[in-house]
């Protein structure tokens, strides 16, 4: 989850996956988002070294990669906490009680939006509608979606994370 750039770049398995992704689509460049997803899942973010590496692999300019990484909300170009909590802030979830949940989480973890706990365990963000508005308030922790989350349930959920 949190390999360094050098570790990643000398990881055979990773390089093999990159090669595979290159061949996945009718045109190589279509693999860019998939590669960035892969790198982020390995490192927790997408370092500059990795961005340059991908640029070379796909014959794109590093600036292009930077433009893409900063455009998409799911990509991070700086390290974040081990776990990312994203709380849906959009209207249906807000109506369901999303603000109450967010306040709870923020108090519980002692961090505000965009911040990371001092032990590096949690980063707290808001996110826009996660397409499960009937089951709000919704949150995502890393890749997992949780719905109808009450403050009490949240406290239970986070016990499973290290």
């Amino acid at each position: 989850m949190t390999k360094s750039s050098n570790e990643l770049l000398s990881d055979r398995e990773f390089l093999r996956k990159i090669e595979k992704l290159k061949k996945l689509y009718p045109e190589e460049k279509s693999a860019l988002l998939a590669m960035l997803h892969l790198c982020q899942s390995e490192m927790g973010y997408i370092s500059l070294e990795i961005q340059e590496f991908i640029a070379k692999e796909l014959k794109l300019s590093p600036a292009h990669i930077k433009g893409v990484v900063t455009f998409y909300e799911m990509f991070f170009d700086k390290p974040k906490g081990r776990n990312l909590i994203q709380v849906c802030r959009t209207l249906p979830c807000m109506l369901a009680g999303g603000e109450i949940l967010f306040e709870h989480i923020s108090t519980k973890l002692g961090i505000k939006e965009g911040q990371t706990t001092s032990d590096g365990k949690w980063t707290l963000m808001t996110v826009e509608c996660l397409a499960c508005c009937d089951k709000g308030p919704a949150i995502m922790i890393n890749d997992t979606l949780y719905t109808r989350v009450s403050p009490r349930e949240f406290d239970e959920i986070i016990k499973d994370y290290r």
């Binding site: 500059l48 961005q51 340059e52 600036a63 930077k66 433009g67 900063t70 455009f71």
Partner: protein, 560 residues
């Protein structure tokens, strides 16, 4: 081809032409930011909105093409489109766009280099009170970012038109720039450690419609409205990019590319542009001088040339003489040199240095002397490619050098070794170069930006350079030097030549006789330009007026 009605005017719009292009061509004014004739069309700024009859929404003129309508569908029986560019709705829309663009803009015109040539400022005056009653904290963006060695970026002034980005993607294909982030947080940036340093980087400053990108070497130098601009071409390679030289009180402030569709479009390379910086602080002398006991002594023109001519005229056999010429000489200077050579050597001798370097697929050409092709057209001889000077002067007694610094990095001993019998070195050049310092006779010449002249580029385009700044009296174009020589010769006692060969004296007299009634005796550019016309059949009937903007294309010149 379609017929379009715009504000009561009929214009023809070609099939692959946009409404905006056609309107601009016809002098119909539609404001725009993101459109640039040399770049792809993105339709992002939304400034060029116009009203098209039959369309519910305003349309962007920059990406509207006009399809031809079948006869029965033509508007008013003949138009393919009717366009209004000055209705209240259109003006209101433009005001709206301006208001948006100024929301987060620092409004710091008083300290902005672009003031006076900023499209934001210009349109704001025009559409009035576009500056809103904005009472919120503006978004803050990076300021004074060194995007490249010569480029400073102010993201707060940037209107995100992406011209600079497209330039690097489409023209130089170097792709240093990108938009980063999104929405209102968007701005232009480079990848860490990969600066905007391509050979054309400063063109981004030219095409930036506002003051977001500034040229470091020009920052805060002078307000643009005090500058005086003169047309010239860049002397640094055989492309001859058309340029405008901006001066202030006789000093060159900056060089900017000037549109010439036959040569360089809107662009030029940084190397050419930075010539303005390279020529600063170079040593200049303003009168001819003769070395006496190791030191140069300034002489009056008359004394100088009398001494020089009696020293070199018809004194040597042609194998004892080397004349090194330069593609930095204008056509007129070359023609004048021919006369000079006939008098002094009895025939046209001398070789042009064939100096080459890197070339690219954009503008930069291999031949590093602007008028290489002019010299070729005028049938001059050339050295081998990048030939070493030691070859050229081997065992010579007289070496004459015009506009080349051939002894750069060489010591007197080196030269002596190669040409032990060398008696006289004569140098004509703008700067007091190493070569000039090693000479026995030195004549300062007017610089490229200090004289009139014509030059021919690699493709055969003949363009004119002009006197952007006035040199001190003592520094003249080489053609004026030759006119001076002719005048002096006329009054000279031929016995001063100390030549035993009366036959040759006769021949000099003949040359003089021939030129006595020609205008060249009177000095100045124009008579020599006429000589050039005589030398090139293709331009026999050319008038100077034909050269005012883009120059003219010569079939017989250039690389073909």
């Amino acid at each position: 081809m379609a017929l379009v009605w715009i504000d009561g005017k009929e214009i023809v719009v070609e099939k692959n032409e946009t409404l905006l292009q056609a309107a601009l061509r016809e002098g119909i004014y539609i404001p725009y930011y993101c459109y640039h004739p040399s770049l792809s069309i993105v339709g992002q700024c939304r400034m060029c909105l116009v009203k098209i009859e039959g369309m519910p929404k305003l349309m962007t003129a920059c990406n509207t093409y006009v399809p031809e309508l079948p006869k029965e569908k033509k508007i008013d029986g003949k138009y393919d489109m009717k366009v209004y560019t000055r209705t209240e709705e259109v003006k209101e829309a433009r005001r709206g766009i301006l208001e948006f663009l100024l929301l987060n803009h620092p409004l710091d015109c008083p300290i902005c280099d672009q003031a006076g040539e900023c499209q934001l400022q210009i349109y704001s005056y025009e559409y009035g009170n576009a500056r809103s009653d904005f009472r919120f904290e503006k978004l803050h963006f990076p300021k004074r970012v060194e995007l490249g060695e010569h480029i400073v970026y102010d993201a707060e002034r940037c209107i995100k038109c992406t011209r600079c980005i497209r330039f690097c993607n489409e023209i130089t294909k170097t792709q240093e720039l990108t938009l980063i982030d999104r929405g209102a947080n968007t701005y232009v940036d480079t990848f860490e450690g990969k600066k905007l340093n391509n050979p054309y980087s400063v063109c981004t400053v030219d095409i930036c419609p506002v003051g977001a990108l500034t040229f470091k070497e020009f920052r805060f130098k002078e307000r643009v409205w005090f500058l005086q601009g003169s047309n010239s071409v860049c002397p640094e390679c055989s492309r001859n990019c058309a340029i405008r030289v901006d001066t202030y009180k006789g000093e060159i402030m900056r060089i900017v590319p000037r549109f010439n569709p036959e040569v360089n479009n809107y662009f030029m390379c940084d190397f050419g542009r930075l010539l303005s910086e390279r020529i600063k602080n170079k040593e200049l002398r303003n009168s001819p001088a003769i070395k006496e006991n190791g030191a140069f002594k300034v002489k009056s023109e008359k004394e100088f040339y009398t001494t020089l001519l009696s020293k070199i005229t018809r004194k040597y056999n042609s194998n004892e003489v080397s004349v090194i010429l330069s593609g930095r000489m204008t056509n007129e200077e070359i023609e004048a040199y021919k006369v000079f050579s006939l008098i002094v050597f009895g025939e046209v001798v001398g070789e042009f240095l064939y100096v080459t370097g890197d070339e690219d697929k954009i503008l930069i050409k291999k031949e590093k002397r602007a008028n290489y092709f002019g010299a070729k057209t005028l049938k001059m001889k050339f050295t081998k490619e990048n030939e070493d000077v030691t070859h050229l002067i081997k065992n010579k007694k007289l070496v004459v050098i015009i506009r080349e610094n051939v002894f750069k990095g060489k010591k007197e001993e080196d030269i002596k070794k190669n040409a032990p019998s060398l008696e006289t070195v004569v140098t004509f050049d703008t700067f007091f170069t190493e070569t000039a310092q090693l000479s026995d006779f030195y004549v300062p010449l007017a610089g490229w930006f200090e004289m009139e002249g014509t030059v021919i580029n690699f493709n055969g385009q003949l363009q004119k350079i002009s006197k952007c700044i006035t040199p001190p009296k003592g520094r003249k174009p080489f053609y004026d030097v030759v006119s001076t020589v002719l005048t002096i010769l006329k009054d000279m006692d031929t016995s001063d030549f100390k030549s035993e060969k009366t036959k040759e004296i006769e021949s000099i007299k003949k040359v003089l006789e021939e030129f006595k009634n020609r205008e060249v005796m009177n000095k100045g550019f124009y008579p020599w330009f006429k000589e050039v016309k005589n030398a090139i059949p293709e331009i026999k009937n050319l008038s100077l007026k034909d050269l005012t903007s883009f120059g003219i294309f010569l079939k017989e010149s250039g690389n073909g």
